[in-house]
Symmetry: C2
Subunit: 288 residues, 2 copies
């Protein structure tokens, strides 16, 4: 039965490890009907999930704010992921933890005491093209402006249809990612990544009050800079300043640190990756 053991992958769903082919949620699940859910994605390197505690802390905070029950301890989640890494035999994995409010409740109401749906998937990680880390990604500024009062932008929710459309907008403009400005015209973040610029020797990134996701890799980069005594600043800035930066890079847990070579029609930086971007990339690799 070797062929089956190769084909079958396992997931964790509501307390049980099951083959992914048997993974299903109720048609009444609020995650499916109302986007009433949150998630985290992270990677494992050599079988070890990276920054799992930080991802779970963010998820636990979001779950609390949104009154979705999160029933597992960090130790339990850690053991489930370890089991899935072993059973699926994937050392370098894409890990997604999805938590929905569950099935039932009153339509758009935040009913309490609903049995949540907890799904953990461990899949092979498909790396980004390695050339991109040498040559940089190209970005475009999206036509969309995010409301500074949007109440869910700082949570990692499953409400991703807008992100799908913005990614499509970037693709149409032959770019890898789109920069989202907020309605105050300040740079906020990209569709699936946080953004940084290097200017006058400082690393500058939009402050959380631009209404962005508090990225785990974002914090890791800020910590790296602190340790290396690179001046950092969380601030408000416009695209005018961004395109004049010496270096620009974007971050998320899946692609780590990605240099940027172009924003709209403006070339960024003299060498890709820039000197400070290189230092941050190397320091990140050493943490893994």
């Amino acid at each position: 039965m070797h062929s089956i053991s190769i084909m079958t992958k396992f997931i964790f769903l509501n307390g049980r490890i099951i083959p992914d082919t048997e993974g299903s949620v109720s048609t009444d699940d609020r995650g499916f009907l109302y986007g009433d859910g949150i998630y985290e994605t992270l990677r494992s390197y050599d079988g070890k999930p990276f920054k799992l505690a930080e991802h779970l802390e963010r998820m636990r905070h979001s779950a609390k704010q949104l009154r979705i029950l999160f029933e597992y301890t960090n130790t339990e989640i850690s053991e489930i992921i370890k089991t899935l890494i072993d059973k699926n035999n994937i050392q370098d994995a894409y890990i997604r933890i999805t938590l929905s409010r569950g099935a039932g409740g009153g339509r758009l109401q935040m009913d309490d005491n609903i049995e949540p749906t907890t799904l953990i998937q461990v899949k092979p990680f498909s790396p980004y093209d390695s050339k991109l880390y040498d040559e940089g990604m190209t970005l475009v500024v999206s036509d969309y402006r995010r409301s500074t009062t949007c109440p869910i932008s700082h949570y990692k929710t499953t409400n991703l249809l807008k992100s799908i459309l913005l990614k499509e907008e970037a693709k149409t403009k032959s770019a890898h990612e789109a920069i989202i400005l907020n309605t105050d015209s300040y740079v906020a973040e990209c569709v699936v990544s946080n953004i940084f610029m290097v200017s006058g020797g400082s690393v500058i990134t939009p402050s959380l009050d631009t209404n962005i996701l508090p990225g785990i890799t974002r914090i890791t980069v800020l910590d790296i800079c602190k340790n290396k005594s690179i001046p950092i600043s969380e601030n408000h800035f416009t695209t005018d300043r961004l395109i004049k930066a010496n270096e620009v890079f974007i971050t998320n847990s899946l692609m780590e640190i990605m240099p940027v070579s172009k924003i709209d029609n403006y070339k960024i930086g003299k060498v890709i990756p820039g000197m400070i971007t290189q230092q941050v990339m190397s320091a990140y690799k050493r943490l893994i």
Copy 2:
């Protein structure tokens, strides 16, 4: 087996009529993971779905724009709903049609050729408290401002977590519904309803370019006004004008036409429902 036939309800899922207890979608369904889906809700009266063709036209338009396959003809959907109404023995039903892009594809990409998930649920309609139609609902202006460039506000998507939070905001302020202004400070719509005011003998409602859902009941009300020679205008207006209106009402397919008695701390109208609101409510009832 009488007790079972009372308990069991049927749904339509991907070509089959099945008991709702057996209704499930894959844990890889993009509706569940990415909110990659749209839906319609409507009512049936005496076994007849109201404005089904209009709902399906809107859904077909959204599906096309979002490149989600919609595989059924109007006749097929109509027959499925009829079967569910009969089998579930619910004449006055809440009907929800949900369409997701299905399972698979590349994360945030709008891949084509994914097998969509089509779900139709027919449940007993829980009417709103009849007192509300006599006394009116109370509204509050949400603190949230919707971006005028939000690319999904004019589709009825399953990305409803923001709506859940805004409903909770209204509840916290002891109101039934919340008014959403856009980032130009114009009244757009409510969380789950379109809004109308009567001023100087005219019925005025936010124009579609305030970035709202083109409601089926909204269009029906505009048609009613045209037939009754009540002047109508689709326009931009602020809350300053709204709270000075002679009458305010809100609409959706489930609650139909609902008078409004209060917005924040301002009392609206001399009698509830106002004269023109009453005419529209009566005319709507006659269409059913």
